[in-house]
Amino acid sequence: MLKELLGAKDKKATRDGFGDGLFELGQTNDKVVALCADLAGSLKMNKFIDTYPQRFFQCGVAEANMMGVAAGLATGGYIPFTGTFANFSTGRVFDQIRQSIAYSGKNVKICASHAGVTLGEDGATHQILEDMGMIKMLPGLTVINPCDYRQTKAATLAIAEHHGPVYLRFGRPGWPVFMPENIPFEIGKGILLNEGTDVSVFATGHMVWQSLQAADQLSKAGISCEVINIHTIKPLDDAIILDSVSKTGRVVTAEEHQISGGLGESIASLLARKSPSPMELVGVDDSFGESGKPAELMNKYGLGVSDVVAAIKKVLER
């Protein structure tokens, strides 16, 4: 399985998966409408916009209003998908999401691109690493961070069928398309990508690819890593995590996000209550990013393959 996954040849951005998923929803679900705050091209929404102009609302650079208008469209029975960068989909509009969407139980899909340091050259103003932490605290909000083009497209289709507010987080760079097409996407269900016995690696988003490479390197040293893709940060798939940890007894988490507030903390909280285990958390450690190329930034900010390898070795020594 590992070799097959790592043999992925194509690269495509997760945001393309969103754009293609949205376009498909345009054809299959006439309740789906889209809104954007002057970033339609970056979010790859143009196919939907060109084909279904009546169901698209350009909001200009005014994200707060966009969230409210989306809440209103949902009240009227539509399924609005908002599109802007992750930074402007969370911190900038947290109170609008909290009151008009989450507390009001509106069926709005907040679709957030360019998350994390892999946004690259634009720098730390735009590289949000706190978005999942903020948004996962809101009661009733589902949080999804898919790992490649294919999974992002599948998640985009799946959230239209799910009734309730969703935060869908994806990114900018071209990224290996490695998820097998025959693996179904189910909200709240983790995916076992590589069976192992020594350590459980729970990874989300772009860090799934890094974790698979780390597992491959370590297998040559005789270390058996179980790699599980946790695409839904909330609700967390407690069962798949506890099952795996009961077997391995050692845990590493990996995400392109602050360690504070991220997937790792959610898993640490679960394990502290149900199955305390040695654990290492791979993520950005209380720091802002900076301008640079995605690969350079991942290495500099603790998100490289070598960082995952080091965390696995460390947890095995504990």
Partner: protein, 280 residues
């Protein structure tokens, strides 16, 4: 009794309900609620084409969104008196396990409320979204919204103004409760609103003014506003009201924005408001 007299009597009862709710809870916002009692009465008992059975979507009926959610007492009293729920429930306002939260919410499924409001500046955007959903569904009914004047200091309001004009949301009638007061004092001292009429006009809205504490003027104003809809522009009514209208010692001052009357004050307030429909 003609319709106008009937509406005036209803407004008197709603004012009684407001002060009694706030007295009972010993918290809440009587000032703005009293000032808007005539508007709510005209809307819910005359102008709004709404269905007695509450349905969240509000398809094929007029929908009202209260953006300045703190005046929940007048909203709840109007909803109860127009049949959305039993008036006895007004007694539970702001208490534990109640559907009548301090600020309106959908969470407890109170009939008549379509979105939570209270954090200011948000309801107008939601109203615009509902108006767009009506256009998409080819539903020819209207969306009404009320905002405060202090609320216009929120940036999101001006985002919403631009959006509604740009997208020609012309099935929308917004009213501003222009009582000139906010928590810390008169608008002009806290944060001047400037020439409101010119501001809304320059954002591309059809702008009207209306006396908000004269039932006949409110009815005429709301009907005029409707006659200006569906012509490519959103419509706003700048409604002049007196905060606390109907209770002399609460009137015209920001001091009764968010405090409750004591035992003596409630007696005095109720002596000025005729009981017309039976207290809850």
């Amino acid at each position: 009794m003609d319709n106008l007299e009937k509406l005036k009597k209803t407004a008197s009862q709603i004012r009684r309900d407001i002060v009694r709710m706030v007295y009972h809870a010993q918290s809440g916002h009587p000032g703005g609620s009293l000032g808007c009692a005539d508007f709510f009465t005209a809307l819910y008992f005359s102008e709004l084409k709404h269905k007695p059975e509450f349905n969240m979507k509000g398809a094929n009926e007029d929908v009202f969104i209260l953006s300045n959610g703190h005046i929940s007492p007048v909203f709840y009293a109007s909803l109860a008196r127009s049949g959305y729920f039993d008036v006895k429930e007004l007694n539970t306002f702001r208490s534990i396990d109640s559907r009548l939260q301090g600020h309106p919410a959908t969470h407890e499924e109170l009939p008549g409320v379509r979105v939570a409001t209270g954090s200011l500046g948000q309801g107008l955007s939601v109203a615009i979204g509902i108006a767009l959903s009506k256009k998409l569904a080819e539903d020819d009914r209207y969306v009404y919204a009320l905002t405060g004047d202090g609320e216009l200091q929120e940036g999101q309001i001006w985002e919403a103004l631009m959006f509604a004009a740009h997208h020609q949301v012309d099935n929308l009638i917004v009213t501003v409760d222009w009582n000139g007061q906010q928590i810390d004092g008169p608008n002009e001292e806290v944060m001047s609103l400037g020439d409101l009429e010119a501001k809304w006009k320059s954002f591309g809205w059809e702008v009207m003014q209306m006396e908000g504490n004269d039932m006949e003027a409110v009815l005429t104003g709301l009907r005029n506003a409707k006659s200006k809809t569906k012509k490519g522009k959103p419509v706003v009514i700048l409604m002049r009201t007196d905060m606390g209208f109907g209770v002399d010692f609460m009137q015209g001052t920001h001091k009764w924005h968010g405090i409750a009357p004591n035992d003596e004050q409630i007696k005095e307030a109720l002596s000025q408001l005729e009981e017309t429909l039976g207290d809850f």
